[in-house]
Amino acid sequence: MNWLIAIIQTALFVALAPLLMGFLKFCKCLLQNRSAPSFLQPYRELLKLTRKQPVISEDASWLFCVAPYLIFTAMILAASVVPFIAIDLPTSAEADVIVLVGFFAFARFFLALAGLDIGTAFGGMGSSREMTISSLAEPAMLMAVFTLTMTASTTNLSGAIEHVLQEGLILRPSFVFALFALILVAIAETGRIPVDNPTTHLELTMIHEAMVLEYSGRHLALIEWASALKLMLYGVLISNIFFPWGIAESFTLSALGYGLLSILGKLIFLCIFLALAETAVAKMRLFRVQEYLGFAYLLGVLGMLSHIILESTR
């Protein structure tokens, strides 16, 4: 039974990810005085892509065709680990937050390799930049996550959320720092403004788009879906770790329904925040990103230190 709920939750997570992307685009269009497409537009695009015949370069190897499946699978696994509408599901014991970061690394590894596979300058450029940014973002992310896991003395996400729920609403300085660090990392890792612009195809600024430039058809659909999943994963991670209230602690129908509604509410709020931020901020130069991520890391360290100095009982 619990496994069934876990599988349904994962399926729901995967199914809802494009909707989040659609809603984000909707918000941005409204903010930028453009007429907005329907929320369902990403689904239509994915459907269109799966129906199209993929075109593959002569120079591509098997890795190029396999990579989208691996990337998508890694993201599904990540989605199964993150508590979405309920905690204490059996899948969350499979892997903890460090493994979650590992899943992201797995997906990124193959995305970067796929970028190098064709042998064009664009692909290499994207891979090089992506690996650079992620190697700076990963320590910042783990620093923020460690602050949380040390407070809860578990790296298991479900256990950590349970701990936060039990503690009730306390203003912890370490959590505030960690929250901001994680938001900055999430923006960098999901390729949003100001680090990368998902709508651009300008060679000077492309990161994610440069790597996937050669993809088409169902392969592209998988990669697009995977990046939507990544955005949603970070969104759920941030909202459920720092504001877990509403998440289902028991597996009754009402609790689960309430859990779903609450997480959707939180995600809508985060989307509006992200759309506002993306409208207000301009993209920064590539070599400013290390300062940005250095700042995120600093916030993470501050969070850790404030936990050790201020909050620890010893």
Binding site: T50, R51, K52, Q53, P54, V55, I56, S57, E58, D59, S61, Y69, F72, T73, A74, I76, L77, A93, E94, A95, D96, I98, V99, G102, A105, F106, R108, F109, A112, L113, L116, I118, G119, T120, A121, G123, G124, S127, S128, M131, T132, S134, S135, L136, A137, P139, L142, F146, M150, T154, T155, E214, G217, R218, Q290, Y297, V301, L305, I308, S312
Partner: protein
């Protein structure tokens, strides 16, 4: 029985060297015996190792070798057994790899004999180090290992650069050995004897203990390649034949780690947390700078050698954590740290051997080790590329592969810092954990570069274009076996963790915490509530998810794939030179971490006619150097030279002066005697 296997591993490896020598004088002796004996040696070492780990007993023996009043004391416990297993796997795999490799690379029968003789001595020396129970035998075996490997590094001695690297290696090995002797000497001066039992019982003051620790750290660290005394390593490892590089990088460095563990956790009567901090800081420094330098290399084997510096750094860092916990009376957490460090040693031996053997195959098939001259090998060498990919994924510590498990355990150890009281430690350890995260991410970037530039894309040279898959099955079998083990221990880490847990029990007298779970399906090093990782379930989930999405997308078979030329932005004429190169790929990181390197970058532009806009030719050169080379080695080298010159002044070359020296010495001695 176990001890018999352990002895026979040593004897087989010596015999393998001996047969090679016999073959030189009597060519009718079949030289396949050399490799057969090498394989048997590896096989015996694996069995001795596994047996020793399962029974987890201490086997003692005394051999009447050497000087009459100084017999060799043998001590074979779980720690020795684990490192026996590591060496055994490596030796077993190269016994498949070496026949073809040496057949092709050998120039004359003499070089074959030299290579095989010293390989045998080298392996035997490493195995003897692990069994030593007195300082004499330890040093004899250690020197055997160092000197034999010098001849292997100097194998291609026609090249002047190789001779220089080999000399540097010998110098550093001997200086390191000197420090180890001093460390033993400090301990022995408080003990009755040179046996390890006597050293364990010695009563040292804390100051002398710290002196012994620092000497041992320098001595073993020099061999292990810790920053800043690592400079010999990226010079020496790449110039040896590939399977020897694999042994040196994958295994010999582990013997140095063994020495460090034996000295710190076993011989020294107690440990202090300050030493743990020293180990942790040096380890973190080695890890981060090792991978940063690795990233900048263009020669594949040099890159792999630098990556060994990184991995040794991770191991030493976790050992430091373990020591901190042990000194603070948390033996269970110390056991966890030791487990992580030992597992990483084991894993690193597997994947580093795999990668070096893969590099050997690439070199063999393309005669090229420069990453910027390769490319597109995945189509030409599909099997090698697949095995190499597994190695890259393991070393980048991606989930489902073995490298991830040890890194995960290292993080779990670091995150238990909450139990400590000391504020400095509590803030220092998480920072070094974050450095570990940086290392892991940079390693992934580095090996994306390695795999992407060597195997993917379009060939960058004729050699790469003409490359073919290797035809010799046994040469492919060795990396295939290692790749299989990398995957197996990534999915079922508990199988080896159970065995390593015995080592911790024997060494520091404590197992993992009582609530820990090491089952077939999942591992939870502290307790199931705190953290768990179950790779088999993840693998099942991944197969299910991938299967479903593959099925959904492929129900309609009409959407087959269309193959078309690469899009060239409408300009036409894509050439391989337009691809990203090694230095292009790492440029952002080079710029961000520029203080970590000494970079000389020059761009010369030749203008066409007298306009300032038409560039006719651009010449770009990039030279990256290690800080420690300039700031540590060269000053030492210069001062040694200067002192030598001063000392040289007493040699006038005039016989009367020398007679005067003799007379003065005689008078001095007479005065001393009277």
């Amino acid at each position: 029985m176990i001890l018999f296997l352990a002895y026979s591993a040593v004897i087989f490896s010596f015999a393998s060297g001996g047969i090679a020598l016999v073959h030189l004088f009597k060519p009718e002796v079949n030289k396949q015996w050399v490799f057969l004996l090498l394989g048997l040696s590896g096989f015996a070492a694996i069995f001795a190792g596994v047996g020793g780990l399962i029974t987890s007993q201490i086997y003692l023996d005394t051999l009447n070798l050497g000087l009459p009043w100084l017999p060799w004391h043998i001590h074979f416990d779980s720690l020795s057994a684990l490192f026996y297993l590591i060496i055994g796997i490596a030796v077993f795999s190269i016994s498949f790899y070496a026949p073809h490799y040496t057949y092709v690379t050998q120039k004359d029968p003499q070089s074959f004999a030299v290579l095989s003789l010293f390989t045998g001595l080298f392996i035997g020396g490493m195995l003897l180090v692990l069994m030593a129970d007195d300082a004499f035998m330890f040093m004899i075996a250690w020197e055997l290992m160092s000197v034999a490997s010098y001849f292997l590094v100097a194998f291609d001695h026609e090249n002047a650069a190789n001779r220089r690297a080999a000399f540097l290696y010998l110098l550093m090995a001997e200086v390191g050995a000197l420090f180890i002797i001093l460390a033993f000497g400090v301990m022995a001066s408080f003990a009755s004897d040179f046996t390890f039992d006597a050293l364990r019982a010695s009563h040292l003051s804390t100051m002398w203990m710290s002196v012994a620790f620092i000497l041992a750290l320098i001595g073993f660290g020099m061999k292990a390649g810790l920053v800043p005394i690592h400079v010999w390593l990226p010079e020496a490892h790449p110039v040896a034949p590939s399977h020897i590089s694999a042994l040196m990088s994958g295994v010999m460095l582990k013997v140095a780690i063994y020495g460090l563990i034996r000295f710190c956790f076993d011989l020294l009567p107690e440990v202090h947390w300050e030493w743990g901090v020293v180990l942790m800081v040096i380890g973190t420094l080695s890890a981060v700078s090792g991978i940063l330098y690795a990233m900048m290399q263009q020669n594949l084997k040099r890159l792999l050698a630098y990556s060994s510096v990184e991995n040794i750094g991770i191991i030493v860092m976790v050992l430091g954590l373990s020591m901190i916990f042990l000194a603070n009376n948390y033996p269970e957490l110390a056991a966890l740290g030791l487990l992580a460090a030992l597992l990483h040693s084991f894993n690193h031996a597997l994947f580093k051997n795999l990668l070096f053997l893969g590099a050997g195959i690439i070199h063999h098939q393309t005669h090229e080790l420069n990453i910027d001259m390769l490319g597109g090998l995945i189509k030409r060498m599909p099997k090698t590329s697949f095995l190499f990919l597994i190695g890259c994924m393991s070393i980048s510590s991606l989930p489902l592969f073995n490298g991830f498990v040890s890194e995960w355990l290292a993080f779990q150890t670091a995150l238990r810092v909450d139990v400590l009281d000391n504020g400095v430690l509590r803030s220092l350890i998480p920072v070094s954990a974050a450095a570990l995260a940086l290392t892991a991410a940079l390693a992934a970037a580095c090996f994306v570069k390695v795999f992407g530039l060597i195997f993917l894309g379009v060939p960058r040279s004729r050699h790469a274009e003409k490359a073919k898959e290797i035809t010799d099955k046994s040469m492919l079998a060795a990396p295939a076996m290692l790749a299989g083990l990398c995957f197996f221990f990534g999915i079922f880490p508990s199988s080896i963790l159970h065995l390593i847990d015995n080592v911790a029990k024997q060494l520091i007298g404590s197992n993992l915490p009582a609530q820990s779970v090491l089952s077939f399906f999942s591992i939870a090093p502290v307790s199931a509530q705190q953290a768990s990782y179950s790779p088999p379930l993840i693998l099942i989930g991944a197969l299910m998810a991938a299967g479903i999405c593959f099925w959904i997308l492929h129900r309609k078979l009409k959407t087959s794939v269309r193959i078309a030329p690469t899009w060239d932005c409408g300009f036409g004429g894509l050439t391989p030179r337009m691809q990203y190169t090694s230095s292009a790929f790492t440029m952002p990181l080079r710029r961000i971490f520029s203080p970590a390197f000494l970079i000389e970058e020059t761009i010369e532009k030749t203008m066409r006619s007298n306009t300032q806009t038409n560039v006719a030719q651009v010449r770009y050169s990039l030279h990256i150097q290690d800080h420690s080379w300039i700031h540590l080695y060269q000053p030492v080298e210069h001062s040694v030279n200067r002192v030598a010159k001063q000392v040289g002044r007493i040699q006038t070359g005039n016989i009367r002066t020398y007679l005067g020296y003799s007379l003065a010495t005689l008078i001095l001695l007479l005065w001393v005697v009277s």
